[in-house]
């Protein structure tokens, strides 16, 4: 997100003194998204953190829209807001997350985490700034990020990485099922379900929502 913000700041020179409405909207939405993201990691109320994450991810989708990447924006809403966050809330409901503050919702690693986050953000900003220093993207013709252009780029130029990624996700899916089933036949039912539930969820985390769902249902 800070990367996209930096990009907005970079494209500013041509319209710095007379920014267009889209640029102003982009910056405002970016600030709101950043605020929601900060709230996500600082709030002491677990479910509120998940709901702030919805705001942050939705804000990102709006940023994609403003950058004319309509397809990416809707996929962002579909996968992240519609599925990942629902999965997060589902997981939270299985825990003892109280209404109100959780006293232990903090980590001793906060400074390490902050350092890593700042370093990652700095790297991303630097890469984007260096890559697009003064270049302007021509928006004539079909917009980059529309369904047609995305599909053509994905299946013509990037088809090998695309297939490799899908195999990776398939492996995650199969792995999640295997992990959630491992101790089911021999142990007592109580132990089996206790072992299966966390295994299913942690293994599901890197996969897509479709990969994450089966172990949830099988562990019950």
């Amino acid at each position: 997100m800070s990367a996209t913000l930096a990009q907005a700041a970079l494209t500013a020179p041509q319209g710095f003194l007379s920014p267009s409405g889209v640029e102003i909207a982009f910056l405002l939405v970016g600030i709101a998204t950043l605020g929601a993201a900060v709230m996500t990691v600082t709030t002491r109320q677990l479910v509120h953190a998940a709901l702030w994450l919805v705001v942050a991810l939705g804000g990102l989708a709006v940023e994609y829209l403003l950058l004319t990447a309509e397809f990416i924006a809707w996929v962002q809403v579909l996968i992240y807001v519609g599925s990942i966050v629902v999965l997060l809330l589902f997981g939270l409901m299985l825990t003892k997350a109280p209404i109100g503050r959780s006293p232990d919702a903090d980590s001793g690693n906060r400074w390490v985490a902050l350092t890593v986050a700042v370093a990652a953000a700095g790297t991303l900003v630097w890469v984007v700034v260096d890559a697009f220093r003064t270049s302007w993207i021509d928006l004539d013709g079909p917009a980059q990020g529309s369904t047609k252009v995305s599909g053509e780029i994905l299946f013509r130029h990037w088809v090998l990485p695309f297939e490799a990624l899908s195999v990776l996700l398939l492996a995650a899916l199969v792995g999640a099922i295997v992990l959630s089933r491992k101790s089911a036949p021999d142990d007592t039912p109580g132990e089996a379900s206790a072992a299966a539930a966390p295994g299913g969820r942690s293994a599901a985390a890197p996969g897509e929502p479709s990969a994450a769902a089966p172990p949830e249902t099988e562990s019950r």
């Binding site: 807001v81 209404i99 369904t147 949830e216």
Partner: protein, 322 residues
């Protein structure tokens, strides 16, 4: 200025449709259920066959006290009905009802993705309500809602993807322009999967496990009263309108029909939507509620394989005719 006026008129029309059609479906449900069960249903409000019953209900809901439980998470509890209702309004903007440019609120380039993405957001409202109520029945309802959404979102997407493959576009008007009558038998399996998965996403009977009144009172909505409760009910009926409209557009050819292209297209769209809405009500009256494990089994072992088979069939036919 003319553009602004045009946009304003479209938004007002969509808003009026959004307010009227769910009420029509609700009243139809009262009457159809009553007659299927051998009784009359509402007969007094408004005079003619109780047509104003839902208006009276609305007035009653508006007069009730709006109670927030002491232990609830106030703000999320109050926000939840809006999160549940507004996505359906947004979806309605993108559904075309006729062949011309003016027959859709706003043409969205990636229409299928837009409608499915935004419909999925509506479920967040139920989850927020279930968690924020500080009530064990609400929490159970929220859990069941989430589990159901996770199971049924996938077959719905796969069935919609099959239509997008057949049409070669993901824009809703584009799909309608590419429609031929023989798509109906070709995509019938996808249509059934889409409709069933949509019913489950709306938590309509026989998939109403999350609000099962004989087990968990009213699921995530147990603690709600007055206008906020009415908004949840309205969201359910708006969901029926949206689901039936989408099934019509994606699988039944929308405005296609005799004289469909000569100005009568919107009649066909509304007619097909109404028939589907009748089927939704019919299913509620005639099927018992599925158990939670039966729900999950139906999604993972029946609907998803069927949807995948439909995609394979679509791909084969598509390659064969091109």
């Amino acid at each position: 200025m003319n553009d602004a006026l045009d946009v304003a008129v479209r938004l007002v029309v969509v808003f009026v449709v959004f307010l009227v059609l769910p009420l029509v479906v609700g009243q139809t449900e009262h009457k159809v259920m009553a007659h299927m069960q051998g009784r009359l249903g509402p007969m007094y409000a408004g005079g003619f066959h109780g047509w104003a019953q839902l208006v009276a209900d609305g007035v009653k809901f508006a007069q009730k006290e709006d109670v927030v439980p002491a232990a609830a998470d106030r703000r999320i509890f109050q926000l939840a009905p809006a999160v549940a209702l507004l996505p359906y309004l947004l979806v309605l903007v993108a559904v075309p009802i006729g062949p011309s440019e003016g027959a859709v609120g706003q043409v969205v380039d990636a229409g299928i993705f837009f409608v499915l993405a935004v419909m999925g957001v509506g479920v967040l409202g139920s989850l927020m309500a279930g968690w924020a109520s500080a009530n064990k029945f609400s929490l159970l309802g929220g859990l069941r809602t989430a589990a159901q959404l996770l199971a049924y979102e996938l077959p719905m997407l796969l069935a919609a993807a099959s239509v997008a493959m057949a049409a070669g576009t993901v824009s809703l008007p584009g799909i309608l322009n590419a429609f031929h009558w023989w798509w109906l038998p070709w995509q019938i399996v996808g249509a059934l999967v889409f409709f069933v998965a949509g019913l489950a996403e709306l938590q309509r009977p026989p998939f109403d496990m999350p609000v099962a009144d004989s087990e968990i009172i009213f699921g995530a909505y147990t603690e709600y009263t007055g206008l906020r409760f009415a908004l949840f009910l309205l969201a359910e009926y708006a969901g029926i309108v949206v689901l039936c409209g989408l099934t019509t557009v994606l699988f039944l050819g929308g405005w296609h029909g005799p004289w469909g292209a000569d100005g009568l297209g919107w009649v066909w769209t509304l007619l097909k939507t109404a028939v589907l809405a009748f089927v939704v009500i019919w299913l509620r009256v005639s099927y018992p509620r599925l158990r939670e494990d039966q729900l999950q089994k139906l999604a993972w072992t029946t609907l998803i394989p069927l949807a995948l088979a439909q995609i394979a069939l679509t791909g084969i036919v598509k390659v064969a005719i091109s």
